[in-house]
């Protein structure tokens, strides 16, 4: 199945419903389809085999996604926050292509061989042309729908390939067609070059829910848009949720129309989600875990799971608030040890996933095994009732004298100390143990002593997990989708520790 078909179906079923944008200037589903057709006809004339997108969120994004789909041209949204030179390098990798670029970003790109650069305003004008468009579009199932460049912290960014069948399989197996009620609206604040930004477009359209894009996230802007636009659904990354709650606490705003907030893309600190559940008791919270290579969500901790966990009086029940819930019924998840054997409940290992939505493919490289399994490079375990826990990237695991330790567990404990605002735990080189546990603390008010923090950890975890190296900082480095930049922090720590 083809992504453009999702729009076609909803435009037939609910032509006059608002699809995109704010109420005052919103586009209906049939108008969105009409514009996507015009955009496709225009892009076709401009040539290239890919459609690149360099710009902020907005109605032009879904129109461009579906237009590229109609042309069976891979859509490549690029990270406009990259330095100019890196952005130009990525854009060059999309050649031969046509790139739709925000007007105020065009000058940053200059000339790139094999890339036709068009401004967003020219693109939007071409979409708005009146009348019907009789262009014929290809209906090819196995073509590439989206190319997403990974953040490339370990070298050149990799281009993850998502095919039409991966994305449509995800959409139709997780979302009910036209399942949204009239008047529902989703606030999307994740950027276009993030998998959640793409999947939000596809699932929003298929469910018949209006999409309101926030072009750049600020917590005040998010709350204002939610109130003004009667937002009922939203997806946020953990750092966003914490800042939104701060605004709600300050202003007393209670978001009465909000029904559901999902979060994902990083580890959610328990104090933040507990605060959210208390501040917004009428909202259904869902924790979604997924990867670019899996077309977004593969496991969800649902609203009832959240409520059960927060009221649970047993440790296993409460612990589930830190899980990512149960895998989607449309796919399979396994935990394997380093030798590739599937392990039992509560045994840690690497998370493997198999299903139609899983692409596990990069430009020039397929990383799925013969049986269709994709190794996520995330460590985790599944408890006795089937709840999946993600412990973080396997690369981040600290190996101290043969013992494997995941930073997340130690971070969670430290974050609950009243004197800790934020924390990162990582491995530091150690002559005796190979690696030792290091903690970087952002204090809340006056910094607690390292002795006190060490005691705090020791009282709650095994003594081998107590950090031996401590550092204090004003802030930790995060990328714009809320992921802690551990490697950057590690490199900075190593520099600080190096003898002068």
């Amino acid at each position: 199945m083809h992504t453009a078909l999702l729009l076609d179906m909803i435009a037939d079923a609910a032509p006059d419903r608002l699809a995109l944008g704010r109420r005052a200037e919103g586009l209906t589903f049939s108008e969105t389809r009409r514009r996507a057709h015009h955009a496709a006809a225009w892009l076709e004339q401009l040539g290239g085999t890919n459609v690149a997108f360099v710009g902020l969120n907005g109605p032009a994004l879904p129109v461009a996604v579906f237009a590229a789909g109609m042309l069976a041209r891979p859509f490549a949204p690029l990270n406009y926050r990259l330095p100019d030179a890196d952005l130009r390098k990525l854009l060059a990798r999309t050649a031969p292509s046509t790139a739709v670029v925000d007007d105020d970003m065009v000058a940053r790109l200059g000339q790139v061989d094999g890339v036709t650069i068009v401004s967003r305003s020219a693109f939007e004008a071409a979409c708005k042309v009146h009348g019907d468009c009789d262009a014929q579009f290809l209906d090819v199932d196995h073509d590439i729908a989206v190319l997403l460049f990974t953040s490339g912290t370990t070298g050149e960014p990799k281009a993850a390939i998502l095919r039409h069948r991966n994305l449509t399989s995800y959409v139709i197996s997780t979302v009910e067609f036209l399942g949204s009620e009239e008047g529902e609206a989703a606030l999307v604040s994740v950027p276009p070059y993030h998998i959640a930004g793409i999947s939000a477009v596809l699932t929003g359209v298929y469910s018949g829910r209006r999409i309101v894009h926030l072009d750049a996230f600020t917590p005040e802007g998010w709350v204002r848009a939610a109130v003004e636009e009667g937002i009922t659904h939203a997806m946020v990354v953990p750092t966003m949720l914490g800042r939104i709650l701060d605004v709600l606490e300050t202003t007393g705003e209670s978001l009465p129309e909000m029904r559901a907030i999902s979060y994902g893309g990083g580890r959610m600190p328990l104090p933040v989600i507990e605060r959210a559940l208390n501040l917004l008791p009428h909202v259904d919270f869902a924790n979604a875990y997924g990867l670019t290579e899996t077309s977004s969500t593969i496991s969800i901790l649902g609203p009832d799971d959240h409520r059960m966990a927060i009221y649970a009086d047993d440790e296993a029940g409460r612990r589930r608030l830190g899980s990512v819930g149960k895998p989607l019924p449309s796919l399979e998840v396994e935990i394997r040890d380093p030798d590739g054997n599937v392990v039992g409940p509560n045994q840690p290992g690497e998370i493997y996933v198999r299903g139609e939505q899983v692409s596990g493919e990069y430009a020039g490289k397929k990383v799925i095994d013969d049986e269709g399994w994709f190794a996520t490079n995330d460590g985790g375990f599944i408890d006795e009732e089937g709840y999946l826990f993600v412990e973080g990237r396997l690369d981040d695991v600290i190996v101290r004298g043969g013992e494997n330790m995941s930073p997340g567990e130690i971070e969670d404990v430290l974050r609950e100390h009243p004197g800790v605002a934020d924390v990162a735990v990582l491995g530091a080189p150690d002559d005796q143990w190979g690696e030792t546990v290091a903690a970087v603390i952002v204090p809340q008010g006056e910094a607690p002593s390292t002795d006190e923090l060490a005691q705090w950890v020791k009282a709650r975890l095994r003594s081998t997990k107590v950090p031996e190296v401590w550092a204090f900082r004003d802030a930790l480095p995060y990328n714009d989708t809320g992921k802690l930049l551990r490697r950057q922090l590690k490199a900075e720590m190593a520099k600080d520790r190096a003898p002068a």
């Binding site: 179906m9 449509t168 139709i172 979302v175 997806m235 999902s262 977004s296 019924p329």
Partner: protein
Amino acid sequence: MELKPGSRWRSAVCEAEFVVVRPAKTPVSLECGGQSVIPHAEARDPSAAPSADHAAGSAAGKRYSDADTGLEVLCSKAGAGSLSVDGRAIGAQEAKKLPSSD
């Protein structure tokens, strides 16, 4: 008829429309309201009506599957006719309501 994934069809005897989600393992005939479905691009005879045996209706958003052949279709527009494969009525899958995650 070649029921390819993503291909669109309409009932010959009612308003219903369908999209093939998963193909059948062997060639089959898909009927709605007792009559073979027709390609989406074709117009139907507006005077035709579903036969009484196949008039349980098709609901928009529901997925219908045939366990025998693996065929799975999605109803994209509701109609009075119900689906059958080679004359055998096929049923709707249980909807699995998942929380919104995007």
